[in-house]
């Protein structure tokens, strides 16, 4: 019987299917960071349990670390943040986990470094105590976020009891229009199906527009699967995937590469495989997209206007629109291009990759950030930062008036000092526009790196498709 990619990966990891209990699946890799792990390590110690497979764990610090300077990162002023970072250092040493510390050449946001190191590979099961673990699905891995008890469970057993999700294929066919990016695809999808539209499903993104994306673009899409409620998002591995993996630090070599490659090629969903749900989207319909409200499903085109509560189709949404407009300080009917911004945040596990920085640099080159705007670039990882500096992107950003920061999660969630002040409005390349997400009272608009860069220069949202001399390379 033809199988979906999800089913193949699931079946390859089924350890036991006990009667009357959830199936037990094997976890190939657990990624660990400072915020959701200390209690899991403590749990092991209290129960006198060992960490079963240190070789199937990788750890780094990302959520809490300052991004201002290398010095600030080594001497974190916030005592609770410092304690959390120190706890991870100590725990990794005690339990034998490979740890990429704050100034390590491989440090970065946990969802950046897995792929960069070649730890993330097709057909694997990957978990992390972080909802954006879905990012790794871009390689055809089954990857999902978990709670701290589950983090401990994986540490102790390298398995998880999991109820099997249903399957949902979202096919995006056609050619992406000029100026439209992977970020716009996923914001468009969430706008269509809603923030609980994929709850209970493992999503597979397919179609010619998805296949045409780089690995960076595919990661952006899978990253935000959770914003539609999905357990996981996956994209079939292909030559783009294999080329990305070839020669990475943790990629297999020699005969092992050949054997792995043969397995990877067997993973794509079989012809005729049946999904529990299907959705087809024409890439030509997608435009540069901007979120206007306080949930990632509240999005519209750059050509659009802030909607009215009267546009809502039911009473719950209507109330949601009213609350969102009030929080965002927006009037219904305002053209999106007339919304002025105060801050720009370019970074995060959604859009903090080299390709994102290149695209944004192309927009800002030779121009300057508007006098009313404060803008920052936070590369997602040390590797991205190094690469960008080699290409001279840091100089382009700094000349344009952007701050050039050290890698970390930064203003995506504001657990470190990078936060919005109450009422500040931010064009952000991150993934969540919840109330207070980037700082209490802060107002977040989710956009692509190109759109964020153009907004920084213009001082308000502007259609990147009309940008002078824009090369159209996404």
């Amino acid at each position: 019987m033809p199988q979906t990619m999800f089913e193949k990966v699931w079946n390859n990891h089924l350890v036991a299917s006990p009667e009357g209990e959830p199936p037990l699946i094997y976890i190939d890799l657990q990624l660990v960071h400072e915020v959701t792990s200390p209690q899991a390590f403590d749990g092991l110690r209290l129960a006198g349990r060992k960490l079963r497979r240190p070789d199937r764990h990788i750890a780094t610090v990302d959520h809490n670390v300052p991004t201002t300077s290398a010095e600030d990162r080594l001497h974190i002023l916030d005592q609770t943040s410092a304690a959390q970072v120190n706890a991870l250092r100590k725990n990794c040493k005690e339990f034998g986990i490979e740890f990429f510390d704050v100034q390590d050449a491989s440090q970065g946001i946990v969802h950046m470094i897995g792929p960069e190191l070649g730890a993330t590979k097709p057909g694997m099961t990957i978990v992390c105590g972080d909802s954006h673990t879905s990012t790794h699905g871009a390689f055809g891995a089954l990857a999902f976020g978990i709670g701290t008890s589950e983090v401990e469970h994986v540490m102790a057993t390298q398995t998880l009891p999991q109820s099997k999700p249903k399957t949902f294929r979202i096919t995006v066919d056609g050619t992406l229009p000029y100026g439209v990016t992977a970020k716009d695809i996923i914001l468009h999808i969430i706008g269509l199906i809603g923030t609980d539209g994929a709850t209970g499903y493992a999503v597979e993104y397919a179609g010619s527009a998805i296949r045409a994306l780089s690995m960076e673009g595919r990661m952006t899409i899978c990253n935000m699967s959770i914003e539609a409620g999905a357990r996981a998002g996956m994209i079939a591995p292909d030559e783009t995937t294999f080329a990305y993996l070839m020669g990475r630090r943790f990629s297999p070599t020699g005969k092992a590469w050949d054997e792995a490659l043969a397995h990877w090629k067997s993973l794509p969903s079989d012809e005729g495989a049946v999904f529990d749900r299907e959705l087809h989207i024409d890439a030509a319909e997608i435009t540069p997209t901007v979120s206007w409200g306080t949930s990632p499903g509240m999005v519209t085109s750059i050509e659009g206007k802030v909607p009215s509560p009267d546009d809502a189709t039911n009473e719950i949404d209507r109330k949601g629109y009213e609350r969102a407009l009030e929080y965002m300080g927006l009037k219904a009917g305002t053209p999106i291009e007339q919304i002025n911004i105060d801050r720009v945040f370019l970074g995060s596990c959604t859009n903090g990759r080299i390709e994102d920085l290149r695209a944004a640099a192309q927009i800002v080159k030779g121009r300057h950030v508007a006098s009313t705007v404060s803008a920052m670039v936070v590369p997602g990882s040390q590797a991205v930062k190094r690469q960008a500096e080699e290409e001279g992107l840091d100089k382009i950003f700094k000349d344009a008036g952007f701050e050039w920061r050290e890698p970390g999660c930064s203003m995506c969630l504001g657990m470190n000092p990078d936060i919005l002040s109450p009422g500040e409005r931010c064009a952000s390349t991150s993934n969540r526009n919840f109330e207070g997400r980037q700082g209490r009272g802060g107002r977040t608009h989710l956009v692509s790196p190109q759109m964020a860069a153009a907004a920084a220069i213009a001082g308000h949202f502007t259609d990147v498709r009309n940008w002078p001399n824009y090369g159209g390379k996404n």
Partner: protein
């Protein structure tokens, strides 16, 4: 995890719907490295007067601060309790404060799972049943009994309601079994699987060389 069979306790009537995990435990406490000690931060923004600078004064308006509810092990709440962020700190805070059971019309999914992993029984009753209990719980000394074995909520005035719970989760709560302990029963299957799986190069997170 502490086994749960049956408890009889006074109950705090928190008459609010959609209580989210940010309210149960605000984000600044996620930087702590302990699993315990969250009880004092439970419902932080509601429980304390925050406009009093440099001091944490209990807010006398918040129901949990009323002396008659001291020592309560049961929380009564409105629908969709525990919605929002996946932070397990919410379950830890409730448990650390001393709550063993929450009674509400509905619960959010992730919170439901996190609570179960921390020995907290979540009993889903109808709106009317929860309202009845909320009203009776205004009387000082009023007690409710949650019986997991029988899957009932009762009181001394003849109230009796049944709640549904997944048999697997019920078994875990009754016996105080944590999921790790349960998984270790499959140790033999796991060892066998792992021995085979470790030879599959595609499954290795770090460099595999043949």
């Amino acid at each position: 995890m502490q086994p749960f069979t049956r408890i009889t306790s006074i109950a705090v009537p928190l008459d609010r719907a959609n209580v989210d995990t940010d309210q149960i435990i605000p984000k600044q406490f996620l930087k702590r490295i302990e699993r315990t000690g969250y009880g004092e931060f439970l419902f932080f923004d509601w429980r304390y007067e925050l406009d009093v600078p440099d001091s944490v004064m209990p807010n006398p308006e918040f129901v949990m601060n009323a002396p008659q509810y001291k020592g309560a092990e049961i929380l009564l709440a409105g629908k969709n309790f525990g919605c929002g962020s996946s932070r397990e700190h919410a379950a830890w805070a409730l448990s650390d404060y001393g709550f063993r059971a929450v009674i509400a019309p509905t619960f959010a999914d992730i919170f439901f799972s996190n609570a179960g992993k921390n020995g907290i029984v979540l009993a889903r009753l109808t709106d009317d049943e929860v309202n009845t209990l909320m009203q009776r719980a205004q009387t000082p000394g009023y007690e409710i009994t949650v019986d997991l074995e029988a899957q009932t909520v009762t009181d001394a005035q003849g109230f009796k309601a049944r709640f549904e719970i997944d048999p697997f989760r019920k078994e875990c709560l009754l016996n105080g079994l944590d999921d790790i302990g349960l998984t270790l029963r499959h140790g033999e299957a796991l060892d066998k699987f792992e021995a085979k799986h470790d030879n599959e190069f595609w499954s290795a997170p770090k460099t595999a060389t043949a």
